[in-house]
Symmetry: C2
């Protein structure tokens, strides 16, 4: 199973949209996909109609089992979504307390990595959606994935946030002794604004080796898709925003070994 994480400490840059849309494309190609929601706010969970406050199954159950030194039994926490081939490990709002409760407990940074190892034969891809904050949940995602996708909004402030995100990544890599490949994805690109064009040029100058050569344009159909609770890549695969994500998927697949 290939494991991708989508992370950026900045809020509202399209992390959840990226996880949902790429997951939808892979499911259309008959790949078996597990989406993992590690954001206590539960955008990915709500997207598919589950309630992060009351859903009995979630990743939180796995963290509690790990803290109590019990077997994870990850299978019993998986939900099926309304899209065939797309399963989901829901988030729970209770996950917002994990840092305080378990932050310094040994081994809590590897719960998701252990979960995905247990589920390895069931899926071809796992895509982890991260919260907009560095903490035990993001550390879990970084330790569990083989490739990191970093959506970056094409506006000035986002550049500073990206530098911080990359320094965070280096810090986590050093402390956990693994090296992680990443792809930077320009999102919410609006060719009518100078700030978008300037930022894209700067990204291309500063990160030539890890920046995807395309962009994800602003497309209001993403909001319509979230209203319907279906990935745009399933609802309207021909929509501009969906097509750009298809190109991103092609890029990611060519960069990677087969599952």
């Amino acid at each position: 199973m290939r494991v991708w994480a989508v992370a950026n400490q900045k809020g509202g840059v399209g992390k959840t949209t990226t996880a949902v849309t790429l997951g939808g494309w892979l499911a259309r190609r008959r790949q078996r996909v597990l989406l993992v929601d590690l954001d206590p706010h539960g955008s990915l969970t709500s997207y598919f109609g589950f309630d992060p406050e009351s859903n009995p199954k979630s990743g939180y159950v796995l963290f509690k089992r790990a803290a109590e030194r019990k077997p994870l039994n990850a299978h019993d926490q998986i939900e099926h979504t309304r899209v065939e081939g797309l399963d989901l490990l829901c988030a729970s709002t209770a996950m917002a307390t994990l840092d305080r409760q378990l932050g310094t407990t040994e081994g809590m940074g590897l719960v998701i990595a252990r979960t995905l190892r247990e589920l390895d034969g069931d899926y071809d891809y796992a895509i982890i959606d991260c919260p907009p904050m560095l903490g035990v949940l993001m550390v879990n995602a970084l330790a569990a994935c083989q490739h990191l996708i970093i959506p970056v909004q094409t506006e000035f402030l986002a550049l500073k946030g990206l530098e911080r995100m990359l320094r965070t990544l280096q810090m986590v890599q050093r402390s956990r002794d693994f090296s992680l490949e990443y792809t930077i994805v320009p999102t919410l690109f609006d060719k009518r604004t100078r700030a978008s064009l300037d930022t894209l040029r700067t990204l291309r100058e500063r990160y030539p080796d890890s920046l995807w050569d395309g962009v994800i344009p602003v497309d209001t159909r993403f909001r319509e898709a979230s209203l319907a609770g279906v990935p745009l890549s399933i609802m309207r695969p021909g929509a501009r925003g969906a097509q750009h994500y298809r190109q991103l998927l092609e890029y990611l697949l060519q960069e990677e070994p087969a599952p």
Copy 2:
């Protein structure tokens, strides 16, 4: 001093933009304003040209002093911004570790309230920008403010997030025995998309008493303003987005007692 907090656990809804733009309008009106950045990602701090990773002065210093039972001496952590009348208490990326380090230490939920009491005579308004996550930093903001501004993106998923934000607020109010007024502000409104119009109608039906009767439209000039590191209300007060924030300010001022 009147204290407002801008909060929503959902990322990218315009919290920082709201704090900056309202702060700019108040400064234009010769009010003395303190902006407080409680987001470890430091968007507000970066906006004004300070680096949340290396700036020596920040709110983090105050949390450490409080944890060591030392006097806060909040004055020495305040920075002046390039806008006259607009000061800033910077964020530090180290604040992301506060939940783990201090989450259960007695009194850590009141550090910012104590800080603003100390600075009471120096400012007419304080506006607190919150991180997109429930934790000790957001609890500090809720305990320190007299009025809460909740930006809500006009799209379907945001409605579920708002319900959660309001339940969080009720939970914090019960545990801290205070009652907090709030105003819901529809942001990133795009009248061309059905999702925006549907969501606004639903907001007006569900929250008639606490919803501001205007909207903040999508305005690409906000990105240009963030490039310049100046509030849009200062850079281009006539811009559509800035004018809608001026109307919001009028609404907030009429709802409140004078400072």
